[in-house]
């Protein structure tokens, strides 16, 4: 559903969606000469609701009072497209650092990419005042193999009073870059918005482009996409469960889970040509058909028994449980108010999962049990990981058993002009891609949205009252994408 509104209708519509308990998925702005536009996508009970307000002036009524998660999106929309949210509680810059000056907007159509003189980059962090308060600045270059970002901790003793994030270090102009690619080339870029969710992004992009071309993929392609998306979930959960062990000094966990992950990656490479399945999902279907599923069945059976053993070991390990339980808690009420999404939301009582709530093939053909927990601490997120891991292992088996015959890819006719979108539950949460194709079949505007946008602010809340040394553990239990939100 995509309806055109004027600016006051936009606000009224958002209020109505709030009253209906819809969730904000994404908010983005565009330059549509001679005017501008603001777009927002919501998850409502009946499905996706996408509203657009064409604007004569680059201003629209802010919605962060209704949906707090909109705040950073509004700031990014200003930095990139120069469209301002009026009445917002926070007008600081977000993605713009010193690379381009204020008043220059990369997503404007008259913008030409060039070397700007580096502007001074001053960012007004919120200061915590009081006796004994001091700040610990961390990043952008972190102590481990982690993506870059800045964390400003205000602490008293060891206890965190406030955490403020500053992201945007990885902003590499992805949305502008799309506009210089053909729709087919765009698929490769979509698969690199956040490399650890490449299948989900490629699928969301393909879904949007296939809608613009008016084609449905062959059933076999849909089923193989389901296999790929679950393999991506399994591989990321294995990696993160290993690191969660490592972060509580149970390095045994790291070595065991990463050994299993490596064995799975090798099977992916053997069967689908890439360890992380990059460029496997392509518009029209999948790039490689599955000839022999036997190696996949073998690894699924190994993973089922080994992860069950490892779960038992984690759960009985007093040292690990002592660190996991009650660390980094996000209670359900806060999760709901701030619009938390995806995996960590399911650990905080927010039972949303696109694979069940708004299923597309092959998920329409299986019954999937949503994982969930209500305590919202690290232990709850570990528990949801284990549950989803087991469920995904079962799902891959079901998809393979029901794999339809026929082609795994269909030809794509030229896309029609207009706006389409794709919406996929990645291992992290819902990935959303909006496409706008012009009359010549070119990409006029592409917006890619990562669920990390919603969840980064929740991480700021999760660490309050915890001690600084628990931050890496709490952070890992979320494992949010920097690249996906920095664009």
């Amino acid at each position: 559903m995509n309806s055109l509104l004027n600016r006051s209708e936009f606000r009224l519509q958002v209020e109505a969606l709030k009253a209906r308990k819809a969730r904000l998925i994404a908010l983005w702005a565009s330059h549509e000469p001679p005017g501008h536009a603001i777009d927002a996508a919501f998850a409502a009970p009946e499905g996706l609701v996408w509203i657009t307000a064409p604007l004569t002036e680059p201003r629209y009524p802010a919605i962060d009072d209704l949906f707090p998660a909109a705040s950073r999106m509004q700031r990014a929309a200003y930095d990139l497209a120069g469209v301002r949210a009026e009445g917002s509680g926070d007008e600081r810059k977000w993605l713009r650092h010193g690379a381009w000056p204020d008043g220059v907007f990369p997503l404007r159509k008259d913008f030409t990419s060039r070397d700007f003189e580096r502007a001074r980059d001053q960012y007004p962090f919120v200061r915590v005042e009081g006796e004994g308060v001091h700040e610990i600045p961390v990043g952008p270059v972190h102590a481990g193999t982690i993506e870059p970002g800045h964390f400003r901790f205000s602490i008293v003793g060891e206890e965190v009073q406030r955490l403020e994030q500053r992201l945007g270090y990885k902003h590499k102009g992805i949305e502008k870059r799309f506009e210089s690619l053909t729709p087919l080339q765009g698929a490769r870029l979509a698969g690199r918005v956040s490399g650890d969710s490449t299948v989900a992004y490629a699928w969301a992009y393909a879904m949007a482009l296939e809608a613009a071309c008016g084609v449905e993929v062959p059933p076999r392609a849909a089923w193989l996409r389901g296999v790929a998306l679950e393999l991506e979930r399994i591989s990321n959960h294995l990696g993160d469960l290993g690191y969660l062990g490592n972060d509580v000094a149970l390095s045994f966990g790291f070595f065991q889970f990463w050994r299993l992950k490596e064995e799975l990656l090798r099977v992916s490479k053997q069967l689908f040509g890439h360890r992380y399945l990059m460029d496997f999902v392509v518009p029209g279907g999948v790039a490689a058909d599955l000839a022999d599923a036997a190696p996949l069945h073998r690894i699924l059976s190994v993973l089922k028994s080994e992860t069950a053993t490892l779960r038992g070991i984690y759960e009985e390990h007093a040292g690990a449980q002592d660190r996991f339980i009650m660390a980094g808690q996000v209670l359900p009420a806060l999760a709901e108010r701030l619009g938390m999404t995806g995996l960590p939301a399911r650990a905080s009582g927010q039972a949303f999962d696109l694979r069940v709530d708004h299923a597309v093939p092959p998920y329409t053909a299986v019954s999937l049990r949503k994982a969930g927990h209500t305590r919202g601490d690290v232990a709850a997120r570990v528990s949801v990981r284990f549950d989803e891991l087991a469920e995904s292992l079962r799902l891959v088996g079901e998809f393979l058993a029901g794999l339809p015959s026929g082609p795994a890819r269909s030809e794509l006719p030229a896309p029609r002009a207009g706006r389409t979108c794709g919406w996929v539950e990645s291992w992290r949460g819902e990935v959303f891609i909006a496409l706008d194709i012009d009359a010549d079949g070119r990409l006029r505007r592409v917006h890619a949205h990562d669920p990390s946008w919603q969840n980064w602010p929740l991480l700021e809340r999760a660490v309050l009252g915890n001690i600084v040394p628990d931050f890496p553990l709490i952070n890992k239990s979320f494992n949010l994408s920097y690249s996906g939100q920095d664009l």
Partner: protein, 170 residues
């Protein structure tokens, strides 16, 4: 505890042989003396810097520490500060928002030092190319000794890039 020990014994050793160095990956000629490289080759401290990647390369850098590859057995380990590092392992096209941080990290690394650029983006900017937000290849910002392509390069390729940087050209 019994289960944990049983699992360790059952798993055994899965580490595989390390790759050989490959001179074709060199960007700059050999800069360091044989004497320095002899030391580096046996005790190398690596500092990873993500200068703007999609995070795909990071997945494979993590994998270098897993049992199958076990980089540490070669005397090579990741350290938490550039002050402790002999080699910078840099991923990404360098985003302009990370350009300053990368330069400062390079400056903070004591001489003699080596730089290995990882991935297609680190080698030539990859699909992100150069733009208002991206400086492209790592060597546009700091000197690079060895560049290892791939999207992402697999763990053995990353290890090969590191080994090439510390191996004496024959």
């Amino acid at each position: 505890m019994y289960q944990l020990l049983r699992q360790i014994v059952k798993t055994g050793i899965v580490t595989e042989p390390a790759p050989e160095a490959n001179d074709a990956l060199r960007v700059l000629g050999q800069q360091l003396s044989e004497v320095v490289l002899r030391h580096f080759g046996r005790a190398l401290n690596i500092r990873h810097v993500d200068a703007g990647s999609c995070n795909g390369c990071e997945l494979e850098i993590h994998a270098c520490n897993s049992q199958h590859y076990n980089l540490e057995r070669l005397g090579m380990r990741f350290v938490a500060s550039p002050r402790h590092a002999d080699l910078l392992l840099v991923t990404g096209p360098v985003s302009r928002n990370m350009e300053e941080a990368l330069k400062r990290t390079y400056d903070a690394t004591p001489e003699p030092k080596l730089v290995v650029a990882i991935g297609d983006c680190g080698c030539d900017g990859g699909i992100f190319s150069e733009s208002y937000a991206s400086r492209g290849r790592v060597s546009n910002v700091i000197p690079v000794d060895v560049a290892e392509p791939g999207c992402p390069p697999e763990p053995l390729a990353i290890m090969q890039g590191i080994l090439t940087a510390v191996t004496i050209t024959r």
